[in-house]
Symmetry: C2
Subunit: 190 residues, 2 copies
DNA sequence: CTTCAGATTAGCACTTGGTCATAACACTTA
DNA sequence: TAAGTGTTATGACCAAGTGCTAATCTGAAG
């Protein structure tokens, strides 16, 4: 008896966690026990067979793929746009967006929300950020809902540039503001 | 004959793309043909059987999971840091980072790389971006390797602020530059 | 109309990676 | 010695296939 049963089952769990692709035969070889023993172990630990394991891993993947296509978690969800005038977006901060050490949201998420919004409000084939100035006024934390408002400055500039001002608030308190100088190809038409 | 063979095979591909969990029997029912016909179609289109499909979906998932844990694709990889002095990071731009419409990288990725680097070079328990000014000098495209250099300005400021300058280049040409005013709690020691 | 090719369907043996039940050991412990 | 736990073996069966051969259907061309 190499490893006692209890220990072996503990190892079994972490083994399959790392590599769910192993057949019972593989596992049996790994622990130098019979295939039947592995089956019994799986039964006790309620670990499903190879195919079922792969099924669940695959379905997780499917769910994740759909989620990342929406990409809301990165940019914030744009909820209202009046082209060349103003726009609004919501971004829910989760633990994925914050520094572990202090629980404060990483700046680039706020920037991403604001910048995406500035691009969206212009809706040009080629709207690019040329220059911008940012103020991170107040730390944002997981659980906060950040509402960003973009306003297009109506002054006409030489060359093809436009300025978009974005202000982001949490519970009506400004946490971030930015001025985005955007380059565009098309004149503002409508 | 409901749908001609060619058409059916086209549909088969997109059907399994949406839902790889269908057995031949399911598919046969969906197209009202025999199971054998489905097998022949799969053979011609080189579509593997259910179990193999799930295997590959699952392994994709595994790869993605590992990848996202590294998170290099978001921040760029920090390759050299001299604390409170300077730091360097590399960020490989892929098709995931660009606008579909024009193939140009979204600004917030460049910002994220620079901002993360500015935080890393200070390595403070609480280093936060307070203010920053950015210049997007030249569009960046998929395939470009962006190298960002952060330099800490050695002037001492009142209160606990420090300025970090970041310049990002692609093939030795500046594509982005930013000035980051960072707030910190600890004095620069050493 | 016949004939012929391509598409479809069917049947059977075999494969993988299992489940389930049942039985036979081995080893310790009361 | 008997009981109990852990391990191994055996055989029947299942799902979802592959591979191969053979039969049938169908539409168009000669």
């Amino acid at each position: 008896m190499k490893t006692p049963k209890k220990e072996r089952q503990r190892l079994l769990i972490s083994l399959l966690d790392e590599d769910p692709f192993l057949t019972d035969e593989d596992i049996a070889a790994h622990f130098s026990v019979s295939v039947q023993t592995v089956r019994l172990d799986r039964l006790e630990c309620r670990i499903p067979e190879l195919r079922e394991r792969l099924k669940s891993v695959a379905s997780q993947h499917m769910q994740k793929t759909v989620k990342s296509l929406q990409a809301e978690e990165i940019f914030g969800e744009i909820i209202d746009v009046e082209l060349d005038d103003k726009a609004l977006s919501i971004f829910d901060v989760t633990s994925d967006h914050v520094f572990m050490r202090n629980g404060i949201a990483r700046g680039h998420h706020l920037f991403a929300q604001a910048n995406s919004l500035a691009v969206a409000v212009l809706d040009d084939d080629l709207a690019l950020t040329v220059r911008s100035t940012l103020h991170f006024a107040k730390p944002v934390r997981a659980g906060d809902r950040v509402i960003a408002r973009a306003v297009v400055r109506q002054e006409t500039l030489k060359n093809k540039s436009t300025v978009v001002d974005v202000i982001s608030k949490v519970e009506n308190e400004t946490v971030f503001s930015g001025e985005f100088l955007m380059y565009r190809t098309t004149k503002k038409g409508r």
